[in-house]
Homo-oligomer: 415 residues x 2
Amino acid sequence: MTALDRLPGFRDFYPEPLPTPDAWSADLRQHVFDVWRQTSRRYGFREYDGPPLEPLELYTQKSGAEIVSQLFNFTDKGDREVSLRPEMTPTVARMVAAAERAYKKPIKWFSMPQLFRYEKQQKGRLREHFQLNCDIFGEVSTGADAEIVALLIDVLRGFGLTSEDFVIRLSSRTAWQQFFEQAGGNPTQAYDFYQVVDKLDREPSEVSGPKLQALGIQPETVQKFLLEGTPNSELASVLENLRARGLGDFVRVDYGIIRGLAYYTGIVFEAFDRKGEFRAIAGGGRYDGLVRQVSGGKLDLPALGFGMGDVVLAELLKARGKVPAFTSGVDAVVLIEDEALRSESLAVVQRLRDAGHAVDYSLVPQKADKQFKRAQELGARSTVRLESTPEGLRARIKQLSTRQERLVPADQVSL
Amino acid sequence: MTALDRLPGFRDFYPEPLPTPDAWSADLRQHVFDVWRQTSRRYGFREYDGPPLEPLELYTQKSGAEIVSQLFNFTDKGDREVSLRPEMTPTVARMVAAAERAYKKPIKWFSMPQLFRYEKQQKGRLREHFQLNCDIFGEVSTGADAEIVALLIDVLRGFGLTSEDFVIRLSSRTAWQQFFEQAGGNPTQAYDFYQVVDKLDREPSEVSGPKLQALGIQPETVQKFLLEGTPNSELASVLENLRARGLGDFVRVDYGIIRGLAYYTGIVFEAFDRKGEFRAIAGGGRYDGLVRQVSGGKLDLPALGFGMGDVVLAELLKARGKVPAFTSGVDAVVLIEDEALRSESLAVVQRLRDAGHAVDYSLVPQKADKQFKRAQELGARSTVRLESTPEGLRARIKQLSTRQERLVPADQVSL
């Protein structure tokens, strides 16, 4: 028998206070989930979820076979080729294609799935993360693009981040497509071109230059387009919409954003920390052709959305001091100093819990000072202790912050 | 290109109103999660989570190789034998073993993982479900058993179920073990014996009888024990504790409960609907040896807990009329009847969302009556509409239930 560890690249989430400084906090995860969910709901988005295991083909039909090297895929006991989901967009496109007739358009949905990629093993490189996915289906207007970008901004603001902390870089696949075709590129090679542009930041020009030339594009024209851009009515409309909401400070046009995935068709965007210390916090855009593809051509529904992972976000919140202090959540501790009163004390515990309070107590006989110390450690607001008095059983309720006490009949205890 | 469906035995969760009567509701799932989480917190339990993918050995070392036929297991790209988690207890035992020194005892933790089993494909038989797991580590006293059973009861009460709807059947592996040894059984065969007892309900006596005799046990003595039981101080103590909380009506001793899993060591229990229409709603018990096993013998920590799946629970809630009516959650719809006021209307949308309200509006120009109809469909409490007046821009706020209206300056809108 040996002690077993978890798999590399996977996380355990522990309650605070954390056992080690590098442990992942279940409380922080829940805080992230709460802000994600609450903000999405404020925007009128509805929650959905799909299976974490999907047919492998759901991913290969869109991204080609080369994606398989990055997947947790296998053959199941029914001889099906399956994969843990590496992203949520194909799943939601499948779900919408199957059920869209039942829903009024636009469909505004969100989900918070755990996603899996078989990444090369590196320090700090994870193989799973949670990702907020917000999508709108059935609306071609840029009003939808602006709504989805506004939601992204407000999710980040929900964590206490400001326009000093992050910026949304907006771009347009449409504009890049026009550039590529006007520069003499072959439309069937547009995606290869986007891939090169996507890596311009990371690849030296000796690598990217020849790649561009092979596609019939002069590298200088790309550099010029990156610097000067082009008038684009889609981007102008989104910017105007966001300014009307008072969110203009959170966005800027940046044609350096193009997004690596194959299926984007219109406006694309990424969220970055202003200091440039982290990878992209979130990214998304329009993918008007994906529902048609996933539905086998049966349904053509415009779509757009973004994804925001929990890992970079948590790093950013820690670096900017935006992680709240987490407590045990216990409201009161019932002190059982007289074991003869344990049964009656249990009735008090039950009464307070029935009233909605989080209540703890010692499961076994324990010295009074230890019980009180535990109440303090838990950050309880109150202690409750039963006392036999000539008038009957009384509960002494003490507020720990003010040390104020009150004495009430045991069957009328309340916080 | 063909339309892809999800894998058999896996669920999509859709927002209400549902697209088909047999679709799974994301809103109901969230309701289940909310009650699970809130009730666990009221009992002072803290949330944790672990990876959905674990080393295969975590399950085989405990349950033997035969469990593999029921697992979603595979060899990953790093040649590791891995499995989707079929249950949470080995994971939490591993996590506690790794970090218990950082936590005060008893450790009271809960989690709501999705679990996976490669079940034989049958109608309505799923291959994944969500399961509330509540566990206590580090306490041998029956006070802990009573606390965990009380939590189970209050979780079910949290859904509006009463003692008319469900009962907890309490039993004791210790009592069964004593019976087995006194009846002449070989202690090394105790688990084989429990397996036969576990199936007594489902197997005809022609099958179970010979099995018992092969273990050296007369079937009549088992029947007698089932009917008459035996004095057991553990069970008596748990019952007394629950009665002190006023929860006595929710439990009864039933030696027919023994639990199939190998690792239980003391009190065991299952929750059933009173009408006997469904499979067990929840089950659990003591597993004092598992942490020692998972830690490779390094740590010996008593433990107990229960699991409650979402599938049987959802069926029961539907059958007993305990599923609440779900709404869109939208508080207000901003009506944009004059497109010249779209920018100003977006500012109002933003102001209301910033104040924490869930707000929707039409992303594109739309007829006034359609917008109002949509507000009614969404169940919004209010509509807000901007009007240009001689005194400046005003917001007309209408409460849909009372039809009361008020007019305020656009920059002072509130609900």
